[in-house]
Symmetry: C2
């Protein structure tokens, strides 16, 4: 079994949806990635930063799931990164109401010594320079580096972003971001342009329309499970990435066929994430429920056709 | 093998896309449905109307593919239905530039006598009263009636639309139309409301995001094949419906499992349709090419997962 390094925010979120609103609750990319990856009983470590205002209870939720928190810096006199957003009625778009970087502004990630030989590194959405500094600390080339990013860095730090993209194996972005990064509308052409930037695998997240995996001339398309109700999309993309990374760290197999399975696990876990506010559903999710939903994914997508 | 009745427009289209524009070319729902269905060597008849300006060559293209045209009325002194549209850069939205109903305004469909016992009826997008009059002519209840419609009729003839929806087995609409018809954002909930209107199967077309099939508590999601270039989306929805109807007419099996295959055939044929202007690609499509692309669909969507 491989070791997994997870880099990303651990945060407070305050969320408004058509179904209600929350006070400050547990959030952040590393949180959702870690909770998803914990379903694969891998050796995972989170690298992040929080303030003295961050409840020990929240940290315990992660460490109780065997996520090593040695790499989580606690700045006693600082405040934890805070994000607040309001989703529109269609749940596909949102307005950011508040972004308080707080301690995140001085985040200098330190990978714990015993994780610098990790086989899988999952770089959650952060400033590309921060993501880069993690790669610089690894004492051996990881088998797989996965990068999540967003349009914000394409607008504000494109050169840095290109520098880190060069060094990763897999990039996960949404369809609009793939188009922005490449200037190509066709996702097939966009993926090909991204290969030339460095990553040999391109994962395109399309929300309620599923996710695509591109590699060479291969494409895999995992639909999202159609849900009766999307309660809160916050963290779904990170949960997807965490399931993807966790499954690959566990299976230690980066073939295209196995990456398909990683996509399916990611999609499955993400389909739970949106059922409740924030991390609530992920904190109460049994392996049995995950297995049942994997079977639903099979029924959703698998067919037996005879050529006529 | 079952008989298939296809009701819909046979038309002139003039199309503008970012790739170029056409003069008046062959178009219409019954045309695309018929060309797709002709891949299943079923006994198919088109019920439609054209003017004296419609070239015999175009009619021959259909009859050469064994589509019975007895039910296509030719109004010598009339003009053929004409539609012109311009696609936006994203190819997902378009402006209608011209709609000349011409002979379509007086269309009274007449199903040929030897097709009134057809097993499958495909009602292409038309006024719901026109669709209804076809059902009234059938001498036995068809095994399967498939209805295509659009938001225009929801806005202008909702009561008539509900009357025909009551009498069909399958409805094919796009996601926005499903939401408009039911007032529900969730497609799962929308499908359930549509069951209560009559159809036991709901097919939701999502263009580049694929198609969903709902029946009772079952869902099947067929992604669209990601394409390097979408040249002209005109007729893709009708081609999808024609493949779906043709496969079901040929196999005479309306189980959910077999409908999955029908969806895959429809998606496969539609993926060709968009590669060239109008009917051009569908008029030059070998069964061998269709088989190869079916295999691509398998690779695109099929996975082998072991539960861990």
């Amino acid at each position: 079994m491989g070791k997994l390094v997870i880099v990303g925010t651990i945060a407070f979120d305050a969320i408004e949806t058509p179904f209600g609103k929350t006070d400050k609750i547990l959030g952040g990319a590393a949180t959702f990635i870690g909770l998803a990856a914990s379903h694969f009983s891998v050796d995972a470590a989170a690298v992040s930063i929080v303030g003295g205002d961050f409840p020990q209870d929240y940290l315990d939720l992660l460490s109780n799931r065997n996520i090593d928190l040695t790499g989580v810096e606690i700045v006693k006199e600082g405040k934890t990164f805070f994000w607040s957003g309001r989703y529109h009625n269609d749940m596909n778009s949102r307005d950011t109401l508040v972004t308080e970087l707080n301690t995140l502004a001085e985040f200098n990630p330190v990978v714990p010594a015993n994780y610098r030989d990790a086989s899988v590194v999952m770089l959650g959405n952060l400033h590309p320079q921060t993501q880069m500094s993690v790669l610089d600390q690894m004492t051996r080339k990881p088998d797989l580096v996965i990068l999540d990013t967003m349009n914000f860095w394409m607008d504000s730090a494109l050169e840095d972003l290109h520098n880190v993209i060069k060094r990763v194996d897999v990039i996960t972005i949404n369809d609009e971001e793939a188009r922005q990064l490449t200037g190509e509308y066709s996702l097939v052409v966009a993926a090909r342009k991204i290969y030339a930037m460095g990553p040999k695998y391109v994962v395109i997240k399309k929300g309620e329309h599923g996710a695509l995996l591109f590699h060479d001339d291969n494409v895999f398309y995992a639909p999202a499970l159609p849900l009766e109700e999307v309660f809160d999309p916050t963290g779904a993309g990170d949960t997807f990435a965490g399931g993807f990374a966790g499954y690959l760290a566990k299976t230690n197999d980066t073939s295209f066929e196995n990456m398909k399975n990683a996509i399916i696990y990611g999609s499955t876990l993400a389909s739970f994430c949106v059922e409740k506010f924030g991390t609530e559903r992920m904190l109460n999710l049994s392996n049995d429920e995950v297995h049942k939903r994997l079977l639903q994914f099979k029924q959703l997508t698998q067919f037996e056709i005879e050529l006529t």
